[in-house]
């Protein structure tokens, strides 16, 4: 049908439109490669239609228009009225609230999708997946008798057990309380990576997107506006809508140099930054700095409490309402927002020198497990 839309490698490709009575129209078009980076994040504000897209991909909702293709199969095509029911898509779907069967044991939940397998084989697979997720000791319990974090793992185990060809995760961490979420975020990334199953994660949480995703697709105002590597989309939004959705935040890949007394020294580009150690850091991380939290000076002067003093060259200066967006090169690309008066007083112009001050506590490190 649209040979030009196909990539060389296997992919999940869709272009769909779902209408709601008296409600919004959700449109989304995306191609997710299945042979490259394992985790794609569909990112967008609440109400943007992320969950609707996921439901259409799983076969639980039928779009009004468009198509969904997985490898060389057509799962949905509005033109030919083709529709593959959810049972035959081989997709693992992780619901936001997990939707575990409350009347079945953890083992029966995990084994639910293996009904066709002989009993011995089914039991072996349940045990294998439970070991992979370290929940063997929960197998006899009911979902009501385990913690939120454990429920998430059981739900993941249930999705993984039938060896799906694609994993769909709807806000996988949002049902968890703060500390548990922090703990499981990095773990989930490595679980997804080690499962070897291409995954599409829906989230509105920026940290979640950074911690889990390889590629990011931004869904806003009814369509996919930008697709690219996670930190690139965050650091360089393609348009104002995307910028509003992802926020004005600098996101740069960082490698850990050393860790000491609750602080971590990381290398970003050619610069070194001192940041708070969030725990769970390995080699790779993303360093996030909000543009509003960078202080600019013209020259190193009086001592300040800011632990990072970066000499920089101004690249661009562009007014943005009452503020001015200043892009700096300080060994990596750093976007800052200052008031017009400050920009005038510092005489910021492309090519001029400046010093950027960033407090260690203003740098957020998001660990990337691998």
């Amino acid at each position: 049908m649209r040979p030009d839309a196909r990539r060389a490698g296997p992919s999940l490709a869709f272009d769909l439109e779902r209408h709601f009575r008296d409600g919004p129209v959700v449109r989304a078009a995306l191609e997710v490669p299945l042979d490259a980076e394992p985790v794609t994040v569909l990112f967008g504000p609440s109400g943007s239609g992320k969950t609707t897209v996921l439901r259409c991909l799983a076969g639980l909702d039928r779009p009004e228009r468009g198509f969904i293709r997985f490898r060389d199969e057509t799962w949905f095509d509005a033109a030919t009225r083709g529709f593959v029911p959810p049972q035959r898509r081989g997709v693992g779907l992780l619901f936001q609230e997990y939707a575990l069967f409350p009347h079945l044991s953890v083992a029966a939940n995990i084994g639910f999708g293996l009904a066709r397998a002989p009993r011995a084989e089914r039991n072996a697979r349940v045990l294998e997946v439970a070991r992979f997720l370290r929940i063997e000791e929960l197998l006899d319990r009911r979902p009501a008798r385990i913690s939120g974090g454990q429920r998430q793992r059981v739900a993941l185990a249930r999705s993984l057990a039938p060896r799906p060809r694609l994993l769909l995760l709807d806000e996988p961490l949002s049902a968890l309380d703060g500390p548990t979420r922090e703990e499981l975020r990095g773990e989930l990334r490595s679980l997804l990576e080690h499962s070897g199953i291409p995954s599409l994660v829906v989230t509105h949480d920026r940290v979640e997107a950074l911690a889990l995703g390889d590629r990011l697709a931004v869904l806003a105002e009814g369509s996919v506006r930008q697709v690219g590597p996670v930190h690139e989309v965050f650091s360089a939004p393609a348009d104002l809508v995307v910028a509003r959705v992802v926020g004005t935040e600098n996101v740069a890949p960082a490698s850990i140099v050393s860790r000491d007394a609750g602080l971590a020294l990381v290398r970003v580009g050619t610069a070194q930054l001192l940041a708070l150690d969030p725990g769970g850091l390995h080699d790779e991380a993303f360093a996030c700095i909000r543009a509003e939290e960078v202080v600019l000076e013209t020259a190193p002067g009086t001592p300040t409490s800011a632990r990072n003093e970066l000499t920089a060259e101004v690249r661009t200066v562009s007014p943005e309402g009452p503020l001015v967006r200043v892009t700096l090169d300080c060994g990596f690309r750093l976007v800052t927002l200052v008031t017009r008066r400050s920009a005038d007083r510092l005489a910021l112009a492309p090519g001029s020198r400046a010093v950027a001050l960033v407090k260690a506590s203003a740098i957020r490190l998001v660990p990337r497990a691998s």
């Binding site: 959810p86 035959r88 069967f101 009904a115 249930r158």
Partner: protein, 220 residues
């Protein structure tokens, strides 16, 4: 006390309940899942026995059981006796008369089952039929038991329809409620009182069970 009538009433109520589990559950399942725009027509039809006077329902049944109707003729041809004033006719009438008492609680209980659990089952490869038996049915069980108990009790106490299509044949259509009516007509208040007491006790026990199940299903 009329033991024959007691036995007949319980057999009738038991068979009606069993039949309505078989007939009512698919109807209830369909009602709780369909998006057909004319579904209200089916809902209204199922609820009709709630508002129709039993005599009206009984009248229509009597006519359709009669020798001039295809149903009545077919039954007589097959069994040698008429459908009206027989136990089989009474059973058929009871099933129709108690239909809303089974279908409505069944449908309400099935509709309360979290839709996401059904979707999760479908996503895990379970057919609609397997999903119904392994997920929906067990989770709706308290409501389904409540509906079954209510059906049983309602059949036990029916009077008007029995009088119209069943008549008063001992051992085959003479139920407890008819027996009470008979006893009173013959001014045998002692017998009427004993039989009434049995019905009162059974009805009360049934309602206690029903409400207990309902509270438990709400808490669960």
């Amino acid at each position: 006390m009329d033991l024959l009538a007691l036995r007949l009433s319980f057999v009738l109520a038991g068979l009606t309940t069993a039949a309505l589990l078989v007939i009512g559950l698919p109807i209830a399942h369909w009602l709780s899942t369909t998006r057909w725009r004319w579904k209200v027509l089916v809902e209204a039809t199922v609820a009709l026995p709630l508002v129709l006077p039993p005599t009206v329902l009984g009248f229509y049944l009597l006519v359709s059981f009669g020798p001039r109707s295809p149903l009545g003729r077919a039954f007589t041809a097959a069994t040698g006796h008429t459908l009206a004033f027989s136990f089989e006719g009474l059973l058929l009438a009871s099933i129709l008369y108690s239909l809303p008492f089974a279908v409505q609680p069944f449908a309400a209980a099935l509709a309360r089952v979290d839709r996401r659990l059904v979707e999760a089952a479908h996503g895990l490869g379970a057919s609609p039929l397997r999903t119904f038996f392994v997920v929906s049915l067990p989770l709706a069980l308290p409501g389904i038991v409540a509906g079954a108990v209510l059906t049983f009790a309602h059949t036990l106490g029916e009077f008007g329809v029995v009088l119209m299509v069943g008549g008063n044949v001992p051992g085959s259509t003479r139920t407890l409620s008819i027996s009470v009516f008979d006893a009173v007509e013959q001014l045998d208040y002692a017998t009427a009182g004993r039989t009434s007491l049995v019905l009162l006790a059974v009805s009360f026990a049934v309602l206690v069970v029903t409400y207990t199940l309902q509270h438990r299903s709400l808490l669960a």
